[in-house]
């Protein structure tokens, strides 16, 4: 995984794939991205209704032609059940962010809690000089949250990477 680099003319794609839940599938998947020259922005994994099947949500910057090729290459991996590119307008994308910020005085603490409330985040842990918060949302929301907390001093930050699912048919 690498930080965003040349993202000009490139679009962010959300790929969802389900694979047999067995040893080595993550390395097969990750290896294919690297050897074909794609950088993974985020990757998140967990099993599905069927514990024998793992679902990966992967986000990368690419273009329409290259993403089609990538999907065709992914489909060739034996443990893969299916590969799909999600249409942003018809899907829900969420990630969880955990962040611990400096909160040495009462006013900072209050302000941080207010920001968290606006973002529907929650306070998970509090100490005399720090607060740990969690927030859920798409990458824009979590990034906005992060930038508002910057002025207080972020001690540590962790994000899960995006998981995504299609909306139900109307």
């Amino acid at each position: 995984m690498q930080a965003k680099e040349n993202t000009q003319n490139l679009k962010r794609y959300t790929i969802v794939t389900e694979m047999d839940n067995e040893a080595g599938v993550l390395s097969q998947l990750a290896h294919l991205f690297s050897r074909k020259g794609y950088n993974i922005e985020t990757i998140a994994a967990g099993w599905t209704v069927d514990q024998n099947v793992t679902r990966f949500t992967i986000e990368i910057f690419s273009d329409d032609d290259r993403i089609k090729l990538l999907c065709a290459q992914l489909r060739k991996l034996v443990p893969i059940h299916y590969v799909e590119i999600l249409d942003p307008s018809k899907s829900i994308r969420r990630e969880l962010m955990l962040v611990r910020v400096h909160a040495a005085d009462r006013s900072a603490r209050n302000e941080i809690i207010q920001i968290a409330n606006i973002f529907r985040g929650s306070v998970i842990d509090i100490t005399p000089d720090s607060i740990t918060l969690s927030v859920t949302g798409d990458d824009q929301k979590t990034s906005a949250f992060e930038s508002l907390l910057k002025e207080f001093g972020i001690i540590e930050l962790a994000r899960t990477g995006i998981v995504a699912i299609e909306r139900g048919e109307m």
């Binding site: 080595g24 090729l69 065709a72 489909r75 060739k76 991996l77 034996v78 059940h81 299916y82």
Partner: protein
């Protein structure tokens, strides 16, 4: 497998492995034993019905299994032990992968409790081979062994064929479990297996996709409108055993046919429609036809950079149609106007039924064949032969159905340019990976798989030196392989580039060194002869053909000029009709 029948019995992993190979119809294995795979070799001792070819080096075994697969159409099988035994296979695995050759590689690893401890001769071979196999398996439980082997064979031979590796931990080869014999057909039908899932979802690793019939209609329409068609015959025509359909198509639409390196043998070399090889060393007729055609139909070809050169100008006046089994090849190297994914044989049959009429393209053919199909060579200087002289003599004296294996370099291009192959599997060459040292191993595999055919191994002095230790395998198993050595005391192809592009700075390409190949032949117990003129060459070739029964191979060391070049040539990334040499 959960269905229990009367024939179940408790066996250990090694015996189960061998029983599963027998299920798959395997009667020949190439390999090399070692510590981790000892249990398997111990069981093999009891199975004299399986022929095991012991090579000098695991790499030789890997190429032999590949050559066996390519020349017989069966799945090749190769054994090696853990650690260096398995890493020695990797060049062979990659060679098979790049040329879509079905080989099952079986390695054993250290005991499960030693895995991950940097134990003696331990390596993560499944990790190493991940990018060069269709699939690689670790077997750490004997219960999974039989189905893994069955699945591996099904995957190796189905869809776009390719190599598969199974790494079995040593304790698995000694543990016991119930074994139930299952035929490959039964296994393909058994519910609950991964193959079932792959099959029912048309997974590209095993399944044949539903062919888009509208695209077939569209192609028939394009063919009908085209006045300047060109067909490219790729390796997919060989693998799909579609050469008959391809020939019929070419004849009915009266289209010139260019042949890729991997397509050799799928279209008759003496056909008047043949333009020759296409690409970097393609004939003038092929490359000029590609540049001027209005419809290009590529069958089972992946538009490698050695074929297309600069993709931006490739077939610039043509609608490009791509027929391939592998969807991930579409628009990978060349953007196409129409693609049809599926088995070449099925697609061509559907297409033939849809053709509106048979065509005649005399004006177009006159244009295409106004360019040369074959390279003309200057007369040789005293003491040397020309590639053309050597290959013409071989073509004339050896039986027409001779299987030709090659190494990589100038001799490879010459052999492919000059021989007139006419059946799939007749030419065995490392087209994609370009593996020097492939040819002798491949020839061993081809001769073992085709004991009644003559096998010619065309090589150069550089390539031959890489794996010539396999002469001991050739001698031991009495394989009368004829090695035709193009000896120019240089790495000819690299020298050619140094001559043309690097201002004649021959850095590390001159091979002014031993061995004396005639004496090497003698040391290994095969026939050897140095040749510098055509008359002697012809005599030696006749003797080689006549002496086949003695089971001794030949090394015919042919002296050629150090500055001989492969012609024509188009520089890398140039446009296909911009010949650097003609």
């Amino acid at each position: 497998m959960t269905n229990i029948n009367n024939t179940s019995k408790k066996l250990n992993g090694s015996e189960i492995l061998i029983q599963c190979l027998i299920e798959q119809g395997v009667d020949t294995i190439f390999g090399y034993p070692g510590g981790a795979i000892l249990n398997v070799y111990d069981k093999l001792y009891d199975h004299k019905e399986i022929k095991h070819i012991l090579t000098a080096h695991e790499q030789g075994a890997s190429h032999a299994a590949d050559g066996y697969a390519r020349s017989t159409g069966k799945v090749g099988v190769c054994f090696a032990t853990s650690g260096p035994g398995s890493t020695n296979l990797t060049t062979g695995v990659a060679t098979a992968y790049m040329d879509s050759s079905p080989v099952v590689f079986i390695t054993c690893n250290v005991n499960s409790d030693l895995i991950g401890r940097d134990s003696f001769q331990e390596v993560d071979i499944t990790g190493v081979t991940l990018p060069i196999t269709k699939c690689s398996y670790i077997v750490s439980n004997v219960e999974n062994l039989a189905d893994t082997v069955r699945e591996a064979f099904a995957i190796a031979r189905s869809g776009r064929p390719g190599p598969v590796l199974i790494d079995i931990q040593k304790n698995v080869t000694a543990s016991e479990c119930e074994y139930y014999p299952v035929t490959p057909e039964e296994y393909f039908m058994t519910a609950g297996t991964r193959i079932q899932r792959l099959k029912s979802t048309h997974h590209p690793s095993v399944g044949y996709p539903d062919i888009n019939l509208e695209a077939i209609d569209e192609l028939a329409e394009l063919i009908d409108k085209s006045e300047k068609p060109l067909l490219i015959c790729g390796g997919g025509v060989v693998r799909a055993k579609a050469s008959q359909e391809f020939r019929t198509l070419a004849a009915r639409i009266d289209s010139p046919v260019a042949i890729t390196v991997m397509g050799g043998g799928a279209f008759p070399g003496d056909s008047p429609l043949k333009t020759g090889m296409i690409g970097m060393h393609g004939s003038q007729a092929s490359n000029m036809a590609c540049d001027a055609c209005d419809l290009l139909i590529a069958v089972g070809c992946r538009f490698s950079d050695r074929v297309t050169l600069n993709p931006a100008g490739f077939a610039k006046n043509a609608k490009i149609v791509h027929i391939d089994i592998d969807a991930s090849e579409i628009n990978k190297n060349v953007m196409t106007d129409l693609s049809i994914i599926g088995d070449a044989k099925k697609i061509l049959n559907l297409l033939l039924a849809k053709l509106k009429r048979d065509k005649k393209n005399d004006a177009w053919k006159n244009y295409v064949f106004s360019f040369k199909r074959e390279t003309e060579y200057d007369d040789p200087e005293e003491g040397n032969l020309t590639p053309k002289q050597i290959l013409s003599a071989a073509a004339e004296i050896l039986p027409q159905d001779t299987i030709v294996t090659t190494d990589v370099g100038q001799h490879q291009m010459w052999a492919i340019q000059h021989f007139k192959f006419d059946y799939p599997g007749q030419l065995i060459t490392s087209g994609g990976f370009g593996t020097m040292g492939f040819g002798l191993g491949a020839a061993i595999g081809a001769q073992v798989g085709n004991p009644d055919k003559t096998v010619l191994h065309v090589t150069g002095d550089g390539s031959f030196r890489m794996n010539c230790h396999e002469l001991c395998t050739e001698e031991y198993y009495k394989l009368p392989i004829i090695t035709l050595l193009f000896n120019n005391s240089t790495l000819g192809m690299v020298r050619q580039w140094q001559h043309l592009i690097y201002h004649e700075r021959y850095s590390q390409t001159t091979l002014d060194r031993g061995p004396d190949f005639e004496k090497l032949a003698e040391a290994y117990g095969v026939h050897g002869r140095k040749v510098t003129d055509v008359a002697t060459l012809r005599e030696v070739l006749k003797e080689a053909v006549a002496s086949r029964a003695d089971g001794k191979g030949w090394i015919i060391d042919c002296r050629i000029d150090i500055d001989e070049m492969v012609r024509p040539m188009v520089g890398g990334n140039s446009f296909i009709a911009n010949f650097m040499l003609d």
